[in-house]
């Protein structure tokens, strides 16, 4: 966060106490309807996912042989699947798998992409050139096609699927933070840090990173939305979560076989994916208005 002081100098970090700054940020966040809606949707889904084990629901693996492909109502609020398992319960347990996988893949992508972008932007030269060309060609493949191929190489499974999505998401973060670094690395405070003999590591992590991170936070929220869609696509195809683990994508896949008989079987998890993605997208857009007001066109 950069504050402009009365003498017109850009300084990293405000001098206000941390508590006050958090309070101010919370106030601005609360005044942004998009961010609030997004956060509410995200909290709602994450909450349901977290509380799935304690909610009064049948176990996701319990087979009710008397009610296969049952419609909604009675003990099964959203009906059952082809084996007689409760759809609502599987939906909530599936949320745990889908949300955990998506957030992990974004965290991994950040862990690799951000340092890579920082170094690439700050060091420049051959290193930058090589990294950028590699990322260019990775991005020449459509994201889902690349994720599919990597997941096929690694072998099916939720962990490998998560890795594949992380690899696909790295270039976005790297390019984003590299662009930021290029635009601020000649700022006064970076020169000042250099002039007092700060080490390169200290300059990159203590001075450049905090001033370059805002668009990345925004992109991370949007990235979770992308990861949810991609993870469910992988599971839908059969390369993500493996049965009997409930995941939204594999539930949709089974559901499509019984679309006419039990439409909720496919449409309920599809709607859950929609709500989760909408939540993270709104949160991202809201954060963008707060953190990165000049970049709405990007």
């Amino acid at each position: 966060m950069t504050t402009t002081t009365a003498d017109g100098l850009r300084r990293p970090g405000g001098s206000r106490r941390i508590g006050t700054r958090v309070k101010l940020a919370a106030q601005r966040f609360a005044a942004n309807p998009m961010a609030v809606c997004g956060l509410a949707l995200v909290v709602f889904e994450v909450g349901l996912a977290l509380f799935a084990p304690v909610l009064p629901l049948p176990s996701p693996d319990d087979i009710d042989t008397l009610a296969m492909l049952a419609g909604p109502g009675g003990t099964h609020w959203l009906g059952t699947d082809d084996l007689g398992r409760d759809t609502l319960s599987r939906l909530l347990w599936g949320a745990r798998v889908s949300l955990a996988s998506s957030t992990c893949s974004v965290a991994l992508a950040l862990l690799v992409g951000v340092p890579l972008g920082l170094l690439s932007g700050y060091l420049g030269g051959m290193f930058d050139e090589v990294v950028m060309r590699i990322l260019d060609s990775v991005m020449a493949l459509p994201p889902l096609v690349l994720a599919l191929t990597i997941a096929a190489v690694l072998g099916p499974g939720i962990v490998n699927g998560t890795l594949a999505i992380a690899i696909v998401a790295v270039p976005t973060f790297t390019r984003l933070i590299r662009g930021q670094v290029l635009s601020i690395k000649h700022d006064d405070y970076v020169a000042a840090a250099r002039s007092i003999g700060a080490t390169r590591r200290a300059i990159i992590f203590r001075h450049v990173l905090p001033n370059a991170i805002n668009p990345v936070i925004v992109q991370a929220a949007l990235g979770v939305g992308f990861a949810i869609i991609t993870e469910s696509s992988l599971s839908f195809i059969g390369l993500g979560a493996q049965p009997p683990t409930p995941s939204w994508g594999s539930m949709v896949q089974v559901g499509f076989q019984y679309l006419e008989l039990a439409p909720l079987l496919a449409l309920a998890p599809a709607a859950a994916i929609f709500v989760a993605v909408l939540g993270f997208n709104l949160l991202g857009e809201g954060l963008r208005d707060l953190l990165d007001p000049n970049a709405r066109l990007r």
């Binding site: 060309r133 020449a140 190489v153 195809i237 599809a270 929609f274 857009e285």
Partner: protein
């Protein structure tokens, strides 16, 4: 202009080469020796001697970079080897799959354009009215809708309940044009919704930005009608970022095809990719991925050149 176009074409060569290296490398990282995969499919017993000979015949005893060069030499002439599954040449497997994907993808893309750009302009020129609000919320919802939900709803209501259109399959327009149109509508609509949402948002943002520029004030000051200001002065300038998005979206069309073609049982490239991954038919996977990335590179090239046509500043730079 010709020089600019030529420069753009040359600039894509390293990207194509790197992409082909990545595709090749990914395939070599696949679990299992290609030989064992081939033999496993053929169900024959072979001795150690024969294995060595087969390796030699297929060039697998040579260093990996040399193998790459051999592979790319054959790929350029359209020889991708044979499908492990059907034993046909890979190109013969791939070729009939191109038409459905391209037909559905282009239909979706055009549909998204025709819907997204006017809505984007309408929301931008009537900012903070109900029109703007409806358009923007619609775009947010459209962008978050997974293909599963759109496709599932369309199949359930339009195909299964109301029996208006077929739920699956594809008919070539050269066989039965009417049936071809009917099989194209639902998958194209499924793909188009997300695309249209993104185009709407980009058009809106871009128009709002352009409408604040000085030349718009000048155009208004000389007494032009608002409609003329928008259509003559704002439109071309605001379309530049939209053109970029349109190029990126051709890549989205292929990503989407993987899902929509599976949902709607369309025999296209996306479905072929999924099927060949699941049946471990790696020569086909390789060719399909390479084909898709070449299409994306070609689309980006077309966008770059269109950019130069639209904006003289870019081709002079």
């Amino acid at each position: 202009m010709l020089r600019y176009a030529l420069a753009r074409v040359l600039a894509t060569i390293p990207v194509v080469v790197l992409t082909s290296i990545i595709v090749f490398a990914l395939m070599r990282m696949l679990p299992g020796d290609p030989i064992t995969v081939l033999i496993g499919q053929a169900h024959v017993d072979v001795g150690e001697q024969q294995l060595v000979q087969m390796r030699k015949d297929l060039g697998l005893d040579q260093p990996v970079p040399i193998q790459y060069l051999h592979w790319i030499k054959r790929a350029v002439s359209g020889d991708f080897g044979r499908s492990v599954q059907s034993r046909q040449p890979v190109w013969d497997v791939l070729r009939p799959r191109i038409l459905p994907t391209v037909q559905i993808g282009l239909t979706a893309w055009l549909l998204a354009l025709v819907v997204g750009i006017p809505i984007g302009i309408a929301t931008a020129t009537s900012q903070n009215t109900w029109k703007d609000w409806a358009g923007s919320v619609g775009a947010l919802i459209g962008a978050a809708m997974p293909y599963f939900l759109v496709g599932g709803l369309l199949i359930y209501f339009v195909a299964l309940k109301w029996r208006l259109l077929p739920a699956s399959g594809f008919v070539s327009p050269f066989v039965d044009f009417g049936a071809s149109v009917r099989t194209t509508i639902l998958p194209a609509l499924t793909l188009a919704l997300g695309l249209a949402a993104v185009i709407t948002r980009q058009t809106r943002a871009s128009f709002i930005d352009v409408m604040q520029r000085a030349f718009i004030k000048t155009a208004r000051a000389k007494g032009l009608t608002e409609q003329r200001v928008v259509s003559r002065h704002a439109f071309k300038n605001a379309m530049l970022p939209v053109v970029t998005i349109l190029g990126i979206q051709l890549a989205t069309v292929f990503s989407g095809a993987v899902i929509t073609e599976t949902i709607f049982a369309v025999p296209g490239i996306g479905r072929l990719l999924v099927d060949s991954i699941l049946s471990r038919d790696y020569p086909v996977v390789q060719a399909a991925v390479l084909f898709i990335s070449l299409m994306v590179v070609a689309a980006n090239l077309a966008v770059d050149i269109l950019y130069g046509l639209l904006d003289p500043r870019i081709r002079e730079a």
